[in-house]
């Protein structure tokens, strides 16, 4: 679970635009274990509201597809039955799972949507599980994706997929497409402030500006990040508390907590790439393999480490 307030939305984004120029519609919805907010700008508030409501429906659709708690969701059906026989999934989920498997290979296992059992072993989730058993259940090598047949199969019992943050990224990518099709040219959408989609800019401003505060325990100056036609994702351990009350990130490769990672932020052409990137970077402690246009921000003991293009307008995603 991402921390609740990694991004300082109200102080950093909203003062940039108070709706004086043109119309500004603000909508919200609770989904995917967090709250999504949409800020849409344009000429006609009536059409903007319609577009925003369609975007909310889209977010809820992804929620219904990926929720681990909703027994009817596609991912719940996979988790329940894929160890017995191949489970058919829709092309959208298949594309997302394929991207996650590629990212698992590219990151040498640092990004792993099958990490769930380890969270149980380390007391980050209930019920508890032995570490040996959790290690045996973790790893995307145990997930067989047949893109032609559109099926998912697990090599053993107990494997669990949890799309978490990358699911939010996929939902925001879908929202981006929908808003552009509806003719929306200015939009700022975030899920729980840790997943952000920026379309266009606020009127008379070069970019949507968001502010990354210093992670807890460090005394860094806040980092301002300008966004235009890009997605952003922040990953930090502060949202995940174990039984001892300490924040942890679990390294799926070693099966134990990561030491010394505070916050990782990736600005990328798509939400899925940003989410994969920020999660992998937090575990690895360095910039993972990403497309060259991505900007990365890593909280170090004394300063933010920034890599990538300075002010890339990545165009339509």
């Amino acid at each position: 679970m991402p921390p609740a307030d990694v991004l300082d939305l109200d102080r950093a984004v909203l003062p940039g635009w108070d709706g004086r120029e043109g119309a500004c519609v603000r909508l919200g919805v609770a989904a995917m274990g967090t709250r999504f907010e949409l800020l849409l700008g344009g000429e006609d508030p009536i059409r903007l509201r319609g577009a925003g409501e369609a975007a909310i429906d889209e977010i809820l659709r992804w929620h219904a597809m990926l929720s681990c708690f909703d027994k009817g969701s596609e991912i719940a059906r996979v988790n329940e039955a894929a160890a017995q026989s191949p489970v058919r999934v829709g092309p959208e989920l298949m594309r997302l799972l394929l991207a996650c498997q590629r990212a698992w290979e590219d990151s040498h296992g640092a990004f792993d949507i099958s990490v769930g059992p380890l969270l149980h072993a380390w007391g980050l989730r209930e019920p508890p599980l032995s570490l040996d058993e959790a290690r045996a259940r973790t790893g995307m090598h145990q997930v067989e994706l047949d893109a032609t047949a559109g099926t998912v199969r697990f090599a053993r019992q107990g494997v669990r997929l949890d799309l978490g943050g990358v699911g939010k990224g996929a939902a925001l990518d879908s929202v981006a497409l929908l808003l552009r099709e509806a003719g929306v040219t200015r939009a700022f959408v975030h899920g729980g402030t840790s997943s952000v989609l920026a379309i266009g800019t606020p009127p008379d401003q070069p970019a949507w500006r968001v502010r990354l505060p210093s992670p807890p325990g460090l005394d860094l100056p806040p980092m301002d990040v300008d966004l235009r036609n890009v997605s952003l994702s922040v990953s930090a351990p502060s949202g995940r508390l174990s039984r001892d009350g300490r924040a942890h990130v679990i390294d799926p490769r070693r099966g134990g907590p990561v030491e010394g990672s505070h916050a990782a932020c990736v600005v990328a052409p798509s939400g899925v790439e940003a989410e994969i990137g920020s999660t992998a970077m937090l575990v690895l402690g360095y910039r993972p393999r990403l497309s060259p246009t991505c900007r990365t921000f890593m909280a170090g003991p004394a300063a933010w480490k920034v890599e990538g293009e300075d002010d890339a307008d990545l165009g339509s995603t």
């Binding site: 009536i46 059409r47 509201r49 319609g50 577009a51 409501e53 369609a54 429906d57 659709r61 219904a64 597809m65 909703d70 027994k71 009817g72 596609e74 059906r77 058919r88 829709g90 092309p91 959208e92 559109g150 099709e181 509806a182 003719g183 929306v184």
Partner: protein, 412 residues
């Protein structure tokens, strides 16, 4: 409660034996078929795409075609499908894809009739979204065509009739659990403009038919008819009088279709359904409530509860039932498959439906086709609830009381 229902109860239950004994015990199994039935979804707006999502969970069918007047919507559906063909004209779909056995009609309400008649004439099985049509004449044309359709199944999309929670609660209702029905209440509250985004003026007009005064049957028709159907199905009765009012309370964007309505449906026995719907507030969402002298039953889409009066007799099964507190009232959760779950000690896990109500309605449609069984909701049943919805909308628009006689709700 009508005497027929008491007899039904006495015949079905042996004395005070746990009511669960006569209840459907498990969630319906997904329909099975050796060869998946090929289906086409006609209309790829919000409801059509929802059908696409649910149909993909059902192994007994495969979506082979998607049809919409708008290419952008076809593209959106195609991104969610594998191996389907897109059409912008339903006639070409019906002419060229003889391998497609059934169609899901999810177009705007006023387009149902033309497509339903053509699909039935082409020998397809039809699942038609509801309300059935926007005029009584179109409803009758569909009902007549469905009656003369030979071996083709025509199923109407009043989902309540397929919803396992609603079916379970209905068996309680019809076995006299509420005793004398005193009053009924239902609502559909949501915060939504009902406006569909589009990037051209033509599309804007076409997509926003629900806000077009000439075509739309308003909240009472589009939303209300679904809930009226639940009431009709539970009671096997239809209202005799309808009163209505409404207006634009919140969405002051030039629309002429009311965003807030209030309707009273009065039945021949004097019991009244108080119904309201709004697009300006989402409090308590959608529900139907039956209040009787022994108990109340509240239906909330994926959940159902029974609230007992303090002087009502207790039945054995209530002891281990799952309960939920609502301010001062305690609701007994109505859980589909409760007996089996209780045996496994998993009663809590059964609260709420695993799938959306649309899933069960589409699954019922496939079962009807595969097993040549009557549909969960026939065209004639849908006609009656739709016409009540159309008349309720008239009552809202005119403010006049509308009387319904036997001929009003007849198919021909």
């Amino acid at each position: 409660m009508p005497t027929l229902d008491r007899r039904e109860f006495l015949a079905g239950a042996a004395g005070s034996l746990a009511a669960l004994a006569i209840l459907p015990d498990i969630l319906p199994a997904a329909p099975r078929s050796a060869d998946p039935l090929l289906l086409a979804v006609i209309g790829a707006g919000r409801q059509g795409l929802a059908a696409v999502t649910e149909l993909q969970k059902l192994d007994a069918c495969r979506i082979a075609g998607v049809c919409d007047l708008d290419q952008g919507r076809i593209d959106r559906a195609m991104r969610r499908l594998q191996g389907a063909e897109g059409f912008t004209d339903y006639r070409r779909l019906l002419d060229t894809r003889k391998d497609i056995g059934g169609v899901i009609i999810a177009t705007p309400t006023h387009e149902h009739k033309e497509i339903a008649l053509a699909a039935l004439a082409a020998g397809k099985h039809v699942y038609c979204e509801t309300p059935l049509a926007h005029t009584p004449e179109d409803c009758r044309a569909i009902a007549v065509a469905a009656r003369n359709a030979g071996s083709s199944i025509f199923a109407a999309g009043f989902e309540g009739r397929s919803n396992p929670v609603y079916k379970l609660a209905r068996s309680f209702f019809r076995s006299d659990s509420v005793r004398d029905l005193i009053t009924m209440r239902a609502q559909h509250h949501m915060k939504n403009s009902w406006r569909v985004p589009a990037n051209t003026p033509e599309r804007e007009r076409a997509f926003n038919w629900r806000l077009d005064k000439e075509l739309s049957i308003g909240l009472a028709g589009e939303l209300g008819s679904h809930q009226f159907d639940v009431i009709h199905w539970y009671r096997s009765a239809y209202p005799a009088k309808i009163r209505g009012s409404g207006g634009v309370r919140f969405h002051h964007d030039g629309r002429e279709v009311a965003d807030t309505v209030r309707v009273d449906l009065e039945f021949a026995d004097g019991v009244v359904l108080q119904y309201d719907a709004t697009l300006a507030n989402s409090f308590e969402g959608r529900y139907e409530l039956f209040c009787g002298s022994n108990a109340s039953i509240k239906l909330g889409w994926s959940h159902g509860w029974m609230f007992k009066e303090a002087d009502a007799p207790t039945q054995g099964w209530e002891v281990y039932a799952n309960r939920q507190q609502f301010h001062n009232d305690e609701g007994i959760t109505l859980i589909a498959g409760a007996t089996k779950l209780a045996e496994q000690g998993k009663l809590k896990e059964g609260v709420g439906l695993p799938h959306s109500p649309l899933y069960y309605a589409l699954a019922d449609f496939l079962t009807s086709v595969i097993e040549s069984q009557p549909p969960a909701c026939s065209a004639e049943e849908a006609l009656r609830s739709t016409i009540v919805g159309i008349l309720a909308n008239q009552a809202v628009r005119t403010g006049q009381t509308i009387s319904i006689d036997d001929s009003t709700l007849k198919a021909s």
